[in-house]
């Protein structure tokens, strides 16, 4: 991995993760600004975006000054020209699970943000079409939250009587 410093990262808490990728921890207010700056400094592609629910695992290692919250939105951006990845982890509070949408910066985030909304229940403000994408529309709850049980749940498909 290249170690050249990127000006856009100045003033943010960073950490090198287990795979050596530089990881940035912006707060929610500066998240969109950071992604915009990264895009301007040659990160052409938003390769991945997902939500993580850290309920039951509060002791993860974070840099100083970053307050752990229940949810995290994890974004991987990729620079084709510099052959380099940067990961962004935003802490999202349980009380208000909202972050800015990146749709206007990277339209490719559209489906990924819908997936994070659908499965983890994070709202992306400014997303043009924030609907469920994998689960049926009338599904209750967000399956990838840690408090969503994987035990027996009644099948919620419409108008289909259950086997018993």
């Amino acid at each position: 991995m290249s170690v050249t410093a990127i000006g856009a990262l100045d003033g943010y808490a960073t950490l090198n993760s287990a795979d050596g990728t530089q990881t940035v921890f912006p707060d929610r207010a500066r998240y969109r600004e950071l992604v915009r700056d990264l895009r301007a400094s040659g990160f052409e592609m938003l390769i991945d975006l997902c939500g993580v629910d850290y309920l039951g695992h509060p002791g993860r290692s974070l840099p100083d000054g970053v307050v752990p919250e229940r949810f995290e939105v994890v974004v991987n951006v990729l620079s084709l020209s510099q052959k380099r990845r940067i990961r962004i982890r935003v802490q999202v509070a349980e009380s208000a699970p909202e972050v800015d949408s990146l749709f206007a910066l990277y339209p490719g985030s559209e489906a990924m943000e819908r997936e994070a909304y659908d499965l983890v229940g994070i709202n992306f403000t400014g997303h043009p079409d924030l609907t469920r994408i994998l689960m049926p529309d009338d599904w209750e709850g967000h399956p990838l939250r840690k408090d969503f049980s994987i035990g027996r749940v009644p099948v919620q498909f419409k108008e289909t009587p259950g086997p018993r």
């Binding site: 795979d19 990728t21 991945d48 994890v74 990961r87 339209p107 490719g108 994408i133």
Partner: protein, 470 residues
């Protein structure tokens, strides 16, 4: 049922006034909308008469997956168009050419496609949730079922992610075996694509031919792994078994035969005027659009961007083999066809080099934390038996941390984001499926094209629904 309007409270689609209007329209049309039975509400493409002009503009942006980042000619979205000029057609999920259970809603004007919205989730089986309940030993059995056309890549990327957290070095032979199996799998996957694409284009002989060749690869998989698909062969810590005796001869035959047959495909399809007519200039994509939409794989390379993770960010031993990254020029269907056909040839080239370079040695890391003791030790030693038992019931503990690992699957960048809390099960496993992301290109590729080309374009995106829905 009025779930068209009373959808998620989180997404306010309509204000209360227009909600009443919509309710009336829905009531009036209930009998006429025969598709309402299968309706999934707000995930659908909405009719123009129930969509406010402002929303239609916004929706067009969303449905076409465009934003300020990509220049969109405003005149192309005709917001004021009266509804009776267009028609919304539902295609799928049970449609032979949607490659599984992809459902598209297309807005048509005559035969021209205006808006498209892919509706997915029909094959969602909650594999990411399931992974949290399975140990790392069991995990590769789970992920291999995602992209069922290239199961070994799923196993590979999951194993690499687990190994990156474990911090273990693979023996050389294990790495080369992984490369060999993955390149064979890439050939098999592209052959299935050639087959189904041929059938979508009306060439059923291509279907038979390509499946015939794929059978050779699958037979080799069966010989090596015991299974033709969903092999669970690549596991954290190495591969499940060594290559069978005489594998060199099998591989040589596979390479020679398939390489020769690819030239037959040239005769059958590449030079064929009807085929070219249907492929060239259809479903155009530019590099700028592809990058903005996070498109990877043959779709991205067809636009002229030479981005292949094997070359750009080498993993395994791809920096030690010679191969070309196939790049297109026009970003149309034909480029994507040519890229995949030539990638089969490049894979053969890589496999032949692996044949020469395959070292002797262990096919599994000799780390008792990850690898169970050999079978013979179990008969002799109680400790080995306990060790073996513990590994397969409790699994091994993976140090706390998080990692994102990506490989170049036949469809693009396949990534796994793995979070470990120090236990023997992943705390969170997120899979970045290339098909899932690449599907976002469909509305753009289909826009302005003919309905009859839609089948060709869907095929050229090569979505595998098992991976899209996971």
């Amino acid at each position: 049922m009025n779930d068209d309007t009373s959808v998620n409270n989180d997404t306010v689609l309509l204000d209360s006034d227009s909600e009443a209007v919509v309710d009336n329209i829905i009531k009036a049309n209930q009998a006429a909308w025969s598709t309402r039975e299968t309706s999934e509400g707000s995930q659908e493409l909405r009719r123009r008469d129930v969509t406010q002009a402002e929303e239609l503009g916004r929706e067009s942006g969303a449905v076409l997956r465009l934003s300020d980042g990509v220049v969109l000619d405003p005149t192309q979205i005709d917001i004021d168009r009266p509804d009776d000029e267009t028609m919304i057609l539902n295609m799928g999920p049970q449609h032979p050419s949607t490659h599984g259970v992809l459902r598209l809603m297309l807005e048509l004007e005559g035969e021209t496609v205006l808006r498209t919205k892919p509706i997915i989730g029909y094959l969602h089986t909650g594999m990411e949730k399931q992974a949290e309940a399975l140990t790392y030993v069991q995990g590769s059995t789970n992920v291999t079922r995602m992209d069922y056309m290239s199961p070994l890549f799923n196993e590979l990327v999951f194993s690499l992610a687990a190994e990156s957290l474990l911090g273990i070095e693979m023996p050389e032979r294990a790495t080369w075996i992984r490369m060999l199996m993955c390149e064979l799998n890439r050939m098999a996957s592209h052959l299935v694509w050639m087959a189904t694409n041929g059938m979508d284009m009306g060439s059923s002989s291509m279907m038979i031919y390509a499946f015939r060749e794929r059978e050779m690869v699958l037979s080799f998989f069966e010989k090596t792994t015991g299974l033709r698909m969903n092999t669970n062969y690549i596991r954290p810590g190495g591969v499940a078994a060594d290559l069978p005796d005489g594998w060199e001869d099998d591989i040589a035959v596979i390479c020679d035969t398939i390489l020769e047959r690819t030239y037959e495909y040239d005769d059958l399809l590449t030079g064929q005027p009807i085929f070219r007519e249907r492929q060239e200039g259809v479903g155009n994509l530019t590099a700028e659009e592809a990058l903005a939409l996070s498109i990877t794989g043959p779709l991205l390379r067809s636009t002229g961007v030479p981005w292949d993770l094997r070359r750009a960010m080498p993993y395994l031993n791809y920096d030690q083999v010679d191969f070309d990254v196939i790049v297109g020029t026009y970003g149309d269907n034909f480029d994507r066809y040519a890229i995949r056909l030539n990638e089969i040839r490049e894979s053969i080239r890589i496999v032949r080099q692996i044949l020469e370079k395959m070292p002797k040695g262990d096919y599994r890391v000799q780390d008792p934390k990850v690898t169970p003791p050999p079978r013979s030790r179990i008969d002799e030693s109680m400790e080995s038996l306990i060790h073996h038992f513990k590994l397969f019931t409790e699994g091994f503990k993976v140090p706390e941390g998080e990692t994102y690992v990506a490989v170049e699957s036949p469809r693009g960048e396949l990534g796994v984001y793995l979070v470990s809390d120090g236990s023997s099960k992943p705390f969170r496993m997120h899979v970045r499926g290339p098909s899932f992301v690449n599907l976002q290109a469909l509305p753009l590729l289909l826009r302005g094209g003919m309905m009859s080309d839609a089948v060709a374009v869907i095929s050229s995106v090569d979505p595998v629904m098992g991976e899209v829905d996971r």
